[in-house]
Symmetry: C2
Subunit: 322 residues, 2 copies
């Protein structure tokens, strides 16, 4: 996915988050600093901070109080990426060598923990237990999701429900929390906090399905990671799931996807089989379905410019123009 123009109103604040990210992970240990700086430079779209800021901007002009929370959300996301790198044995992420391959497995685990603890410190300053609770609760669910994903690898007998649960934990949850947190800190009314949380949830679902589509069809340069990396790791996403159920040669596909060896050696063939099915088209439909549900939540919110931005983002996802 390409960056959004919809973040232009919060451009200044996103710059502050970026500066905060760098100073947040400063450690007296030079190797930890190197690992962290390395990670920050690898970049990313800073979606989670952006959603927190946009959600807060419904209710506050001055977004300065939201900066620490926005930074913490990105730190939590970064911590999960660092731990994922240890685990997935993925060699590149966002086109930059992973912390793992540059610094070794051990540093990655500790760096991930360190970054998470730093996020906690930023959050603690709000002196709000509802905020800490929200992060504790969602962190647990995200861990569970990572285990579900792991246990689901190479298993061709799992269906849509399992997939949705996986992507919920993997992406939708933290984007939902980002919207919710921004609204909470800006003291939004309870019903509108709920609408923003739901928006983030549905949009996060749409994002992840899109990401899963792109893993089949995108250019490696645009994606920032090799195409087909899911297949190679035995992660069965929606396009493959559809192909397994409705595609031509689904028995052969099932045999291939069940085998870790074939997932590695025959990734191109597997991708080809998925592309021959209507799996991509079906997945686009599911993306639109979730983006539509996200938009529906916006009806409960005040008609301020931030709402337009959130509509645009959902429309952007529906446009397939990325």
């Amino acid at each position: 996915m390409i960056g959004f123009n919809s973040f232009k109103d919060i451009d200044k604040e996103l710059g502050l988050v970026e500066a905060n990210l760098a100073s947040s992970v400063e450690s007296q240990l030079s190797i930890m600093n190197q690992a962290s700086v390395h990670l920050i430079k690898a970049g990313g779209k800073r979606l989670r901070p952006a959603f927190a800021l946009l959600a807060g901007s419904f209710y506050k002009k001055d977004l300065a109080p939201l900066i620490p929370a926005a930074t913490a959300l990105e730190l939590i996301h970064m911590a999960t990426l660092v731990h994922d790198d240890v685990i997935d044995d993925s060699e590149t992420r966002r086109g930059t060598a992973t912390v793992k391959s540059a610094w070794g497995n051990r540093i990655s685990i500790y760096a991930g923990n360190y970054i998470f603890a730093r996020a906690l410190g930023l959050i603690s300053d709000y002196q709000r237990s509802d905020v800490v609770d929200l992060l504790a609760e969602s962190s647990m669910k995200i861990c569970e999701g990572e285990i579900i994903q792991m246990l689901s690898c190479y298993n061709v007998h799992l269906g849509l429900k399992n997939y949705l649960r996986r992507i919920e934990r993997k992406t939708a949850l933290l984007i939902s929390v980002s919207c919710e947190l921004g609204a909470m800190i800006a003291n939004a009314p309870a019903r509108e906090i709920e609408a923003l949380r739901n928006y983030g949830y549905y949009l996060g679902m749409a994002f992840q399905v899109t990401d899963d589509i792109l893993d089949f069809i995108a250019d490696e340069k645009i994606l920032g990671k090799p195409t087909g990396s899911d297949i190679r790791q035995g992660v069965i996403t929606l396009p493959a799931l559809y192909a397994l159920k409705h595609g031509p040669g689904r028995q052969e596909l099932a045999a291939s996807l069940s085998s870790p060896e074939r997932c590695l050696s025959q990734a191109e063939e597997i991708i080809g089989m998925v592309l021959e099915s209507d799996g991509i088209e079906y997945s686009y439909y599911v993306t639109s379905h979730f983006a539509g549900k996200a938009k529906k939540q916006l009806e409960y919110l005040p008609a301020v410019p931030a709402r337009e931005r959130l509509y645009e983002i959902a429309d952007f996802i529906m446009s397939r123009d990325y």
Copy 2:
């Protein structure tokens, strides 16, 4: 080290912590449950909960409000153990197969994160940002310590200062935090919180030096892990440090300890060389020094039964009778 009789006054509360530990790590995911239960059953002395409870009992009769914090401290300790297992490639801990060897590396990372998040949830319920801050800050320092230890492996040129920094982060810090947290939650006066924090710090230092001694001299059955596991992993602790500086054949020892291969294949010989030096005796002296400093802090505290218990624990460490 053998369990303390000094915990008899808080026996009931430690039982509640134990029950809480089990229910705290409950997850909807059966594999996570199995991994966690497995970990809890592996047991341990629950030192951190005990210190939090003892510190709190200086100021409160009813220790019920301390149970969640005491549980959280043990969960944080457990989370670091789970992550250490991933990293150290140690095959046994406390005589039970590690989470890693039983469930695979990935589960260990996620289980550690999950357990840490659960601890955070328990702590968040106190609605006190000073408490969350304390845990965030110390978690970061513990991560740094783990990296320092990792980078210090097989390095025979590092001295006492590096060693003390390592054991501070590895053990003293969380025991210090346990005492401090117990006192904070029981609303102790600021000066007494400080004295309890310092007590925990010095006692934690004494504990870790003792642990490092036992790794050279104890029975595998008593220790719950193989003797010499530090040496095998290239972790140079105080007895070895002394032998490197003052022992007979220190050049040969330095050559062996610098080599990961020799640390594994010649562990017995290396242990023998350390035992031939006065390294163990010197380490006992350092243990007593720290235990003495811990006792000195108790002078600032009210003369209640809990103070006697803390004296006893320090004396127990000084007695060498474990």
